[in-house]
């Protein structure tokens, strides 16, 4: 297509008038349409199953580039929010969507991203029930920022959380860490690198559901910004106990390891977008690991460490038998990763 004649977002697409209505109809409603979404209304009535606990979560997305191997900002905006509900043990039902679109974004590209978002939502069984678009002046955005809010439900009576964690509990991870962060990094031209790493962006709902039947399940979290090391540090802060991880057992793909070594990154701090970290009572850890491995996306799950009484920090036992402290993240090695 001739670059010069490509249709692009103009400020008038955000004015509340004809162009905005047409954009919403031709891009957003066309891909996201469902029986609950009414683009002529300012709000949506959503059925909530009786007797269920209702969970709400929200997430913003500023990933650069907007498209990368294994996903794009559209699928990411679904998975990120679906995953926050999933790790609470909830079943995601509804999403709302905010799009901050920069003047000049190609409409064909926006269409592709919204189409991807719609596919991901369908795959996760969630419906987008309300949305809003804003257009920001050229130079005051990063192409496209998204925010999604998710609503889900859970059977009442279940306790999951950082406060449930006990000494001796075991940490499980559902698959290799650092894929998403590495894939996005490699997709940035500034690094001048090419590699065969795809984002792990996916729903962790099936993984979370596989663990939910275990009474010894204490806590689940998806390690996004800040990666596995940040989830481990959260555990330390909340419990006052320690986390001991075995480097030999934490799965990291070979190309991720190479890229990290080359650029000086630590894969334990890089974002995942389709992994789940769970803390399980030791007696059920083996069975829980088997359940995780039997769920889609959990084939490479591993038991990676445990909760210790002390020291109150995250200790990584290196493969050479040494120890390394994984401190709370200080600077930001990679902005706009999710």
């Amino acid at each position: 297509m001739d670059q010069g004649t490509e249709l692009r977002i103009e400020l008038a697409h955000g004015n509340g008038g004809r162009l905005m209505r047409e954009l919403i109809e031709s891009v957003f409603a066309r891909h996201l349409g469902n029986d609950l979404l009414d683009v002529t209304s300012d709000s949506a009535r959503v059925p909530i199953p009786a007797g269920q606990d209702v969970f709400v979560t929200t997430d913003g997305f500023i990933v650069n580039p907007l498209e990368f191997p294994g996903g794009d900002i559209g699928s990411l905006a679904v998975h990120g929010t679906v995953n926050d509900l999933s790790v609470a043990g909830a079943t995601p039902l509804y999403l709302t969507l905010n799009a901050f679109i920069e003047e000049g974004l190609e409409i064909a590209r926006l269409d592709r991203l919204v189409s991807s978002l719609a596919r991901a939502a369908k795959g996760c069984g969630v419906r987008v029930v309300a949305g809003d678009t804003k257009v920001v002046v050229r130079g005051e955005g990063g192409g496209l920022y998204l925010a999604t809010t998710g609503i889900g439900v859970r059977e009442p009576g279940r306790s999951l959380g950082l406060d449930q964690v006990r000494e001796g509990d075991v940490l499980l991870v559902s698959g290799p860490v650092g894929d998403h962060g590495t894939a996005v990094m490699l997709a940035r031209e500034e690094f001048g690198l090419r590699g065969d790493v795809r984002s792990d962006s996916a729903s962790v709902f099936p993984l979370a559901q596989a663990l939910l039947p275990f009474a010894g399940l204490r806590f689940m979290r998806d390690p996004t910004r800040g990666g596995l090391a940040s989830v481990a540090n959260e555990l330390v802060r909340a419990s006052g106990m320690g986390v001991r991880l075995a480097e030999a057992r934490v799965p990291v793909r070979e190309p991720v390891r190479s890229v990290c070594e080359m650029l000086g990154y630590d894969p334990y701090y890089l974002a995942c977008e389709g992994r789940l970290v769970a803390v399980v009572e030791a007696g059920q850890a083996e069975a829980a690991l088997a359940a995780l491995r039997g769920a889609p996306g959990g084939e490479h799950a591993q038991s990676i460490g445990e909760i210790t009484a002390r020291p109150a920090c995250v200790v990584l036992e290196t493969e050479l038998g040494g120890e390394r402290i994984l401190e709370e993240l200080e600077d930001d090695p990679l902005p706009r990763i999710c």
Copy 2:
């Protein structure tokens, strides 16, 4: 304060590590804290009263400047979403909050805006139950963009909507139009104007509740982007009928009128953020208007026009006895107004 030493947002405030946690604790949680908000959790469980219909809405905010007479992006982000629920006849209960913060924003300013948001939420009786912050690279944001999603409830069995509107119905407006758009415009230095206009940013919940008892209430809407003229055009498109407005009866404040005349804007297209437009069955219009005038913020309510069989467009009867068509908005006279 010395500009050079003012604390500002850094990229590391978005990294998922220590600085992000401290920012969330010291700014967001400090102002917004409530019994449902748990900043160490990725989602919140929210009680929903049994037997009520649940409504969801979402809105993004990109206003420039971030602070203006009568409000700021924080209060706006509450009122905008509360109002979308209110005009559905719902009682707003919960908000989620997304903040896209540009690197370099003064932390004192962010604190002031979040504090304002918290005050507005308290004033509207809503709790912020979940939030997320992202930091974008300097030059890729407009200081601060916000998105809020609202959840509210309504007694079942009520029908309100564009499809309820009938020929002969009467249009009411709760107060003068165009104040918000004008106030924001005047607050921009580029216009080189000063004027005594304050944004009307406020909750319309009390106004909506005052009208809800009327069985003849057909439809409510808050005229934001695109203003009163755009709500009227929506009515035309949805109903296939016409809207006839009487210029002499549409309240416009004198300074708003002057500024619009000077700059060539039409106040009917300028955003309000605390007004309500209602369509009411003619027989109940007088009583509904009285109810509106008796509600806080509705003192200057007016009956401004009616639904006509034809022509299928918005006709403004001018004060001189002529007619002017208020077309659907085409260009965007004022980007980043809300």
